[in-house]
Amino acid sequence: MNRFDYVRAGTVAEAIQAFQADPKARFIAGGTNLVDLMKYDVERPERLIDITRLPLTAIDAHEGGLRVGALVTNAAAAYDPRVRERYPILANAILAGASAQLRNAASTGGNLNQRTRCYYFYDTATPCNKREPGSGCSAVGGVNRIHAIFGTSEYCIATHPSDMCVALAALEATVQVSGPEGERSIAFADYHRLPGDDPAKDNTLQPGEIVVSVDLPENGFATNYTYLKLRDRLSYAFALVSVAAVLDLDGDSVKTVRFALGGVAHKPWRNRDAEAFLQGKPATRESFRAAADLVVAEAVPQSENGFKVELARRAIVRGLEQAAAGTPQSLSDKRIQ
């Protein structure tokens, strides 16, 4: 780890001021991603601004939904009785990710801001446009079994590894941020970005801005939901493909549906056309297959991850079936029903 200076902020305003005084500084909260990257010399901040003492640790009722403070740990969010009751897809997605130790340390804001990444991003001996803009992408044509199949560019094919964010995408949460220019709200779909020709940027947060809360809308789809995660081992592994699916049914037909995929893109991946296609359709395997076909029609696999296309197609169908049946994927019994 490089040597760096350290300041501890007590308020959001102090943290932003500290950044303005030193724009090369980095904010740190749980540190589970940043400290790890610093150990690999991928991140070499000159100064860390410790934001863990900021008063952003509460979960409060907000506009019919819930406001989850940016410093609420992943564990605290997942086990909050209101989250479990009203937003079980969020609780399940969080608990499908990382380990208990990491979830106890990692923050809500940090989960959003963890780096979109791959092996090559970590390996400073190889070119990587995300780590070193302009150096090239080692994953294109390299070892890319775990990489993206949607929204890629020739510059970057890394995936955002969060499970929580996939559920937040399906729930259409809102991200509240505060920065030198004041406060603003960002729709979840607009928070993370695709790599394009500038993969160094994972999200649309501006320099000096801090996530202050993630706001959950009123409808938590607590009856018809699932978070289905498929991975190389049954626990503590990133998703090869995951699906967060939420539904409102009108009898046997689909009234509202949203589904997001994890492990397949630079950000949680949604396909609005496929969702719109399902509206009013019978909630059957046939409908779900047709919707899944619409999604995977846009897939562009790499040399080693072609399997993800079929895996995604089947995961979408299974996820929508689980949600429609009101039988969400169990977190401890990993058999897929």
Binding site: Y6, R8, D50, A75, A100
Partner: protein, 173 residues
């Protein structure tokens, strides 16, 4: 706001206070010192092990304010004021303070042969205590899932789960 230094040159150390296994200590730390390195290299508390040093193996698990975390990913300076429990402190936890008796989970690990080489064991023990503090895992499958952040390359997993279940059942009686 606490600041390191008025100059561009990083301050070398910060004075922090940690209560470690019941003992409150004032310690000067460089900001890049992880809690794991502080415990092992400065405070001679070598029970906590360094495995992967990247939060993937769980060998460095300790309790910070009662919550299990990977001490390798914690900057010590950020935990100013916290209470830390390491494997050395488990035997002295509240119910048995002042005695040399092992913590029930330690006794259960012996009873169930829940280790072979022992390198992961301090982390497994602290993680087990953290799991029981959390109180969410009840069934065998839930315990297995909640312990997935602790790798045991000798493969003592089934006996570790037996030991945890044993202590949980004893506590529930």
């Amino acid at each position: 706001m606490a600041t390191a230094s008025g100059s561009a040159r990083p301050a070398t150390t910060f004075d922090i206070t940690l209560t470690i296994n019941g003992e409150t200590r004032k310690i000067a730390v460089a900001p890049w010192t992880t809690l794991l390195d502080l415990l092992r290299e400065r405070l001679d508390l070598t029970g906590t092990k360094k495995g992967c040093d990247h939060g993937q193996c769980g060998a460095c698990t300790v309790l910070v304010d009662g919550m299990r975390v990977n001490s390798c990913l914690v900057l010590a300076v950020m935990k100013d004021g916290a209470e830390i429990t390491t494997v050395e402190g488990l035997a002295g936890l509240a119910h048995q303070k002042g005695t040399n008796t092992l913590h029930p989970i330690q006794e259960a690990f012996v009873e169930h042969d829940a280790f072979q080489c022992g390198y992961c064991t301090p982390g497994q023990l602290c993680s087990s205590v953290g799991l029981m503090n959390e109180g969410h895992a009840k069934s065998r499958d839930e315990i297995r899932e909640a312990m997935s952040g602790n790798i045991c390359r000798c493969g003592a997993y089934t006996n570790i789960v037996d030991a945890i279940q044993d202590v949980m059942q004893e506590a529930g009686r």
